[in-house]
Every structure is written in structure tokens, then in C-alpha cells.
């Protein structure tokens, strides 16, 4: 059993996800869990394509998707999912609109530009090396001129084609009256082409055609790698969200049920929720009463009793009887208005962060342009002639072109992101890495973050083994969370025959003539305080046995808290739960500063206060009640089991229940920051050397080519050091 994911307890009916293509065939896309190897591909494709009417079943292993196309009514979406189950794979329908576009147009555009610049750079370099080798007089002027023109023939269209990603970004930035790193890159490429054409016309010695194509080639390598990793991290996060698309039974005016996707629910719709279902929207209970688990909504770990007329918040899990409810909001509006407002305010506060690369660009761009202008005016007034002064200024722009600077940040972040990916942490943006490295305070939510957020049998030692076995044989027949917890505690075993369940009350069976009952206190005629974390078991006329359940702290919670503290972070816990359970968890994890009974507003106020006092807080939380705080915090992480809203706003998402990757993430991001600064320092030193050479007119195309390639290579190799350890 997976812990409390939002999708747990929601049935996903694949039928609403079937689409029709132009030829009238039905198409269904499924996300498949557990595909690893060639055997899996063959098994699934053969297993599904032999179903009646199936025309094509194609697995994509990289994205873990299965795409099926079929005709006729003999095969249904349910049958395909069922067949996948028989083959041993869990398959989920998903909403393709909610997924990242599969075709990845941006990535292909970058690849095309990279291919063209690579082709142009290698061919122009062949010619340039001949020219450089023949500069001492071995090559005649006519041949050199021919070589220059052939280079130009390749380089001009090549640079204009491959430079488009930079041109677009530069123009977009200039339109907003700002200058990003792509402005000097664009200027460098265009001026290198213009100067080279002028030189070729005059039959000069030096052209920069090779620089004009090598520059975009080197920069595009970094940009494409950056794109690939971002996409990988993002699509994994999208998958989590898309898999949580759910269906629900809507009751029509005639009382007949119809299965619809949760996204199609409109306010006023009547919905039928079964025991074990999770309400996908905010709703009003029309009929039915029972306990609901609201741990994802408020952080409260104990079930809450509700009845007709009460409000059921989105994310509440029905434990007892089925209910008929009336939706009061659509899925996307099902956060209370206040929470949505807090969320927006938080995201605005986050928006003020300036990425390291942009901070560097803000310094670099005016400085380089100022220097180039100074070299031009200086040269002109010193009387070396307008043309020579212009040549020197352009050479300066080319040689300082921020290959190393442009690679400094993405190269380190790519390596850091892929290392965190292996450690089990999805990073949703590059600047999240920079912000995590800054964090000096960690704020944890309790339920579902520090704890597993599901009941675990606490008094197994106090109960006779025979009673536990017998009670578990009843419990295995039920899906109630306490029954499941009991069955889990007893381990695998038999299911008693003839178990009947009175929903919301308990279970009953007769074994060897002895009546057995398992359920609430009232079910076995015991007077308990009605504590919802107790389960009573009565065998015949024997005295009833009480099973006590409590939420359990995650195995690595205490060690993670200690590890973060060792890295200089101060630790706090903010819980929406009551005092007693919060104190227990704080004691078990070694957290000294904690507050219970915090509603979402109080949580955001605490983070606001931390920000105001100059602290940079890392928020770790999973519930809807944490979403606003996650958005407001300097940086945020949510566990794999978090609600969709929380995962959507968090900067990073853990891929499992474990918390340990957080400590590793702090180490990796701090190392990445160190490497970025080293790269910046190197780029600054490189420019400090290159600028005087260019100003003195000593930079030849050969020196420019060697300097550019070497500096890019050094920055890349430095970034690769991060992947070790």
C-alpha cells in the first residue's frame, strides 16, 4: 500500500480518457509503472496487440507510456487496463492535455541549430586552419581569399540559422528595455560576420568566420543539455500530477450514476462517494454521515466525524459510509479563497529573487559594451584609424563573448540536477538550486511530512498473538484504514470466510461456531471515549481486546533533522494537529521549536516573520494547508505523497517517502554554488587577460578560437567535478 497519495481511494475509470482520431479509431494513452527492460516492452506490446480490434500498441520506455489504437467495441478501455493488470503492470489513464507536450518542439529546434552550427564550425575550421598555417607566406593571396569566401559561404547562413535561439532571446529582452546575456552573444555573432565580410572584400589576412559559428556551437551544447534536464525533471513532476487525474460518479436528475472526469465537475453537481473515496472538490453533504480523514486538508491526524449539511473539503477521505454530496466549487477552485490569495502573495514574494546568472549578466553586459566603446573611441583618438579601432573593438566583443560565463551556471546546475535526480529529488527549476544553497532555516510540517500519515498498530506487544491473527483474518476483508493497518501488522495470512461488514460500525464472522466481531467500541458493546484510533475485537464471550493505532514518525525523520542541524540550519515544526501528537513527534525527531494548531494563515505568518528577520527558510510540507507556505518560503520541497497543489508550488519534489535526500540536496546545492562562483572567477580572470590583448589589437582569429574553446572546456570540466561523491 502506498501511503496517503491524493489518488489513493479514488477510482480511475479509463473510459473518459479515450479519444477518437481522424480515421475513427479509438486511442488511449496510459502511464505504466514498472517497465524496465526489453522483456517488458515485448510482453506489453504482444499482450495488448493480440486483443480484438487493436491496430497498434506502442510502448515508450523513456516516458513510461503506452499508446494503444483500436477499432470496434469488442475492446474497451477497461479491458486494456485489466489486460495490463494481468500482464503484471499498473497502468493509469492520464489526461494528455495535462501532460507536457510529447513532441518537444523546443528541444528539436535547439538540436537542429546545434547540428547546423556543428556542421558549419567543423567545415569552416578545416579551411581556417589551412589559412592560419599559410599565413607566413606559403599560401598565396588568391587562395587565401578563396578560402575566406568559401568559409563565408558556409558560415553566414550557418550562423544566422544556428544563432536564432540567441537572437530571439536578445530581441525579447531588448523589447523589455533590459539586456540579458544573449545581447552580447548576438552582437558578437553579427559583428563577427560583418567584420569578416569586410575583411574578405578587402582581401585582408584575418576573418572571424570560424568564431561566428564556433560561438553558437559551444553555447548551444550547454543550452541543449540544460533543456533536456529541465524537461526531464518537469515531465516527471507533470506525470505525478497527471496520474492524479481522477473520475467520480455524478448523479443525473433521474438518479442514475455517470462516471466523469473530476475536471468536468461543475458546482451544483450531485456526486456519489463510496467509502474509501476521496472528495475531488469542495462539497456539501446531502445525505450520509461518518468519519472522514482530513489529514491532507488540515494536518489533523485523527478522523473527524461529519453529518448532513456539513462541508466536505476537497481531499477529504471517506472512512465510513457512502455519501451523496453536492459540489460547491470546481476542482481548480476548490481551495478556499483565502488559501488561493495567500498562495498568490507567496509566489509574488518569490518572484523578487534574481538568478545568479542574471546578476552576473547585469554586471557583465554594460561593462563589456562600455569597454568596447572605450577601445573604439580610444583607438580613434590615438590615431590608429577608424577601421583599425573598429576592428579592435569588435575583436574585444568576440573574445569576451560569454561562452564561459554562459556555461558557468547551466553546466553546474545540469550536473547538480542530475545528481539530485539519482538521489531521488526532482528539481523543477535551476534557480531553486541557488535558493536551497542559501537556506538557513528548515520548517517542517508534521502529518505526512515527518510522519507516514497512516495509522500503525502501537500496542502489538500488549495483545496476544492468537487474538491478533484472528482479528487480522477479519480485517483483511475490509478496506478501512484501521483494518488495513491491523492486517499489515499481522503480516500475510488467511482471510476468514463469510466476513460481513457493517459500514461505519465493524466486521463480523463466525469461525468454528464462535462469533467474532471487530470494530468500534459500540460494535462490541464497550464504553470507550469514542477515540477513533481504537479498534475493538471480541471473540465469543471473552473480554474485548483493544488495538491502539497511532501515526508513525518516518524512519529517517530524526536523522534528517540532525543532519540538517549539522549543516547549520535551525529547525522548526509547524503542525495543524493538536498539541499532544505534535509534541510526541517533536520529541521523537529532536525538534525543539514547534507550534501546534497552526492554520494555513498562521503558517504563512511564521514564514513571513522569518523572511522579515532576514532568514531564508526551506519549507517542507505535503498538505493543502501547506501549499501557501510552500509558495511563500524562500525554497520548498514536498514529499512524493503530497497533494497535487503542494507539488505544483514546491520547487522540488521527493520521489519517495524518505526525507534523507534533503540533507544530500543541501550538500549538492552548496557545492554547485561554490563551483558556479569558481567559474565566474575564472571567466573574470580570462576576460581580464583577453581585454588588454584585444584593445592592443593583438587578438588574431587563431587566438580567439583557442581562447574561447579552452575557457568553455575548463568551465565544463570544473562543473563535472560535482558528479563525483
Amino acid at each position: 500500500m502506498t501511503a496517503t497519495t491524493f489518488s489513493q481511494g479514488l477510482r480511475i475509470d479509463p473510459a473518459p480518457f479515450v479519444r477518437r482520431d481522424a480515421q475513427g479509431a479509438s486511442k488511449l494513452d496510459l502511464a505504466v509503472k514498472g517497465m524496465r527492460c526489453a522483456g517488458c516492452i515485448a510482453k506489453i506490446e504482444r499482450g495488448v496487440s493480440t486483443m480484438p480490434g487493436v491496430e497498434e500498441a506502442r510502448v515508450n520506455l523513456s516516458t513510461a507510456k503506452l499508446s494503444v489504437r483500436w477499432r470496434g467495441a469488442r475492446t474497451t478501455a477497461e479491458a486494456i487496463v485489466a489486460r495490463m493488470g494481468e500482464l503484471g503492470f499498473e497502468a493509469f489513464p492520464y489526461d494528455p492535455a495535462a501532460m507536457l507536450r510529447q513532441d518537444d518542439e523546443d528541444g528539436r529546434f535547439l538540436l537542429r541549430c546545434l547540428a547546423v552550427s556543428g556542421f558549419a564550425a567543423s567545415n569552416v575550421m578545416f579551411l581556417s586552419i589551412c589559412v592560419w598555417a599559410g599565413l607566413d607566406g606559403e599560401m598565396g593571396e588568391g587562395t587565401r581569399s578563396l578560402f575566406h569566401w568559401i568559409s563565408g559561404l558556409i558560415a553566414i547562413p550557418g550562423a544566422l540559422y544556428a544563432g536564432r535561439p540567441f537572437f530571439r532571446s536578445a530581441f525579447a529582452s531588448l523589447a523589455q528595455m533590459r539586456a540579458n546575456m544573449d545581447v552580447p552573444i548576438t552582437l558578437g555573432i553579427l559583428l563577427a560576420l560583418a567584420l569578416s565580410v569586410a575583411e574578405a572584400i578587402q582581401g585582408g589576412k584575418y576573418t572571424y568566420f570560424d568564431a561566428a559559428v564556433t560561438l553558437p556551437f559551444l553555447l548551444l551544447i550547454g543550452r541543449y543539455l540544460d533543456h533536456v534536464l529541465r524537461r526531464k525533471a518537469r515531465s516527471a513532476a507533470f506525470d505525478l500530477a497527471a496520474m492524479q487525474t481522477v473520475t467520480v460518479t455524478r448523479l443525473g436528475a433521474d438518479g442514475r450514476g455517470e462516471v466523469v472526469a473530476a475536471a468536468d465537475i461543475a458546482p451544483g453537481d450531485r456526486l456519489q462517494l463510496a467509502a474509501g473515496d476521496r472528495s475531488p472538490v469542495d462539497a456539501l453533504i446531502e445525505s450520509g454521515r461518518g468519519d472522514v480523514d482530513v489529514s491532507l486538508v488540515t494536518g489533523e491526524s485523527l478522523p473527524v466525524p461529519v453529518a448532513e449539511g456539513a462541508t466536505l473539503r476537497a481531499g477529504s477521505l471517506l472512512l465510513g459510509q457512502p455519501m451523496t454530496v453536492r459540489a460547491t466549487a470546481r476542482v481548480q477552485d476548490s481551495l478556499v479563497a483565502e488559501m488561493a490569495r495567500l498562495l498568490e502573495a507567496g509566489q509574488q514574494a518569490r518572484g523578487r529573487y534574481v538568478r545568479l546568472a542574471d546578476q552576473a549578466a547585469a554586471l557583465y553586459v554594460p561593462m563589456v559594451h562600455g569597454l568596447a566603446l572605450a577601445v573604439f573611441i580610444g583607438g580613434w583618438t590615438l590615431g590608429i584609424g577608424v577601421y583599425a579601432a573598429l576592428t579592435n573593438a569588435i575583436a574585444l566583443l568576440i573574445i569576451t563573448c560569454p561562452c564561459a560565463l554562459g556555461l558557468a551556471v547551466p553546466a553546474a546546475q545540469i550536473v547538480a540536477t542530475s545528481r539530485l535526480f539519482r538521489a531521488g529529488l526532482l528539481v523543477k527549476s535551476g534557480d531553486a538550486l541557488e535558493r536551497l544553497a542559501d537556506a538557513d532555516t528548515a520548517v517542517f510540517d508534521k502529518t505526512g511530512t515527518l510522519t507516514v500519515s497512516r495509522p500503525v498498530l502501537a500496542n502489538a506487544a500488549a495483545v496476544a498473538r492468537g487474538d491478533l491473527e484472528l482479528a487480522a483474518s477479519l480485517a483483511r476483508a475490509s478496506k478501512h484504514p484501521l483494518s488495513r493497518a491491523l492486517a499489515e501488522a499481522a503480516g500475510p495470512g488467511v482471510v476468514a470466510a463469510g466476513v460481513t461488514e457493517s459500514v461505519g460500525e465493524g466486521l463480523e464472522a463466525v469461525i468454528d461456531g464462535v462469533p467474532l466481531r471487530l470494530g468500534r467500541a459500540a460494535w462490541v458493546a464497550v464504553d470507550d471515549a469514542g477515540d477513533a484510533t481504537h479498534l475493538w475485537f471480541k471473540k465469543g464471550m471473552a473480554a474485548p481486546v483493544c488495538f491502539v493505532f497511532e501515526d508513525q514518525v518516518k524512519a529517517d525523520a530524526a536523522s534528517t533533522v540532525a543532519a540538517l542541524r549539522a549543516r547549520g540550519l535551525s529547525i522548526e515544526m509547524l503542525s495543524g494537529d493538536r498539541d499532544a501528537p505534535a509534541e510526541t513527534v517533536a520529541r521523537q525527531t529532536g525538534i525543539v521549536t514547534w507550534r501546534a494548531l497552526s492554520d494555513p494563515k498562521q503558517k504563512t505568518e511564521r514564514l513571513e516573520a522569518l523572511r522579515a528577520s532576514g532568514h531564508k527558510a526551506l519549507m517542507v510540507g505535503d498538505g493543502l494547508n501547506d501549499a501557501a507556505s510552500l509558495a511563500l518560503a524562500h525554497v520548498s520541497i514536498s514529499p512524493a505523497t503530497a497533494t497535487q497543489a503542494s507539488q505544483a508550488v514546491a520547487d522540488m519534489v521527493l520521489q519517495s517517502d524518505a526525507l534523507a535526500p534533503i540533507a544530500e540536496a543541501i550538500d549538492v546545492t552548496r557545492a554547485a554554488r561554490r563551483i558556479v562562483f569558481q567559474n565566474f572567477a575564472f571567466a573574470a580572470a580570462y576576460n581580464a587577460l583577453a581585454v588588454p590583448l584585444a584593445a592592443a589589437g593583438l587578438v588574431t582569429p587563431l587566438i580567439a578560437a583557442v581562447a574561447m574553446s579552452a575557457s568553455s572546456l575548463i568551465v565544463m570540466l570544473n562543473a563535472l567535478r560535482l558528479s563525483r561523491g
Binding site: S62, Q102, R112, A115, F119
Partner: protein, 51 residues
Amino acid sequence: MDAFLVLTIAAIVLGALGVAVFFWTLKTGQYDDLDGAAHRVLIEDEEDRPL
């Protein structure tokens, strides 16, 4: 000199051909499932049993 011109043009045409082929592979989606392609080579065709 003629030989040089012919060779230069031939080199560029061959290189351009390589770029064109790369564009074609990109367009036909041959990079969409790199992990899958690595494994598919190991799948035996059903009708391809040893004699």
C-alpha cells in the same frame, strides 16, 4: 586547382547531406524514445526462431 574546387564542393555537399539526414531522423521521431530503442534491439521477433 580544379581538383581542389571539386573536392571542396564534394566535401561540403557530403557534409550537408549528413545534416539533412540528421534533420530527417529528428523529424521522424527517432530520438523520442532513446531508452526504448536501446532495449528493443534485444527483442526477438516471434517468427524469427532458430532453425
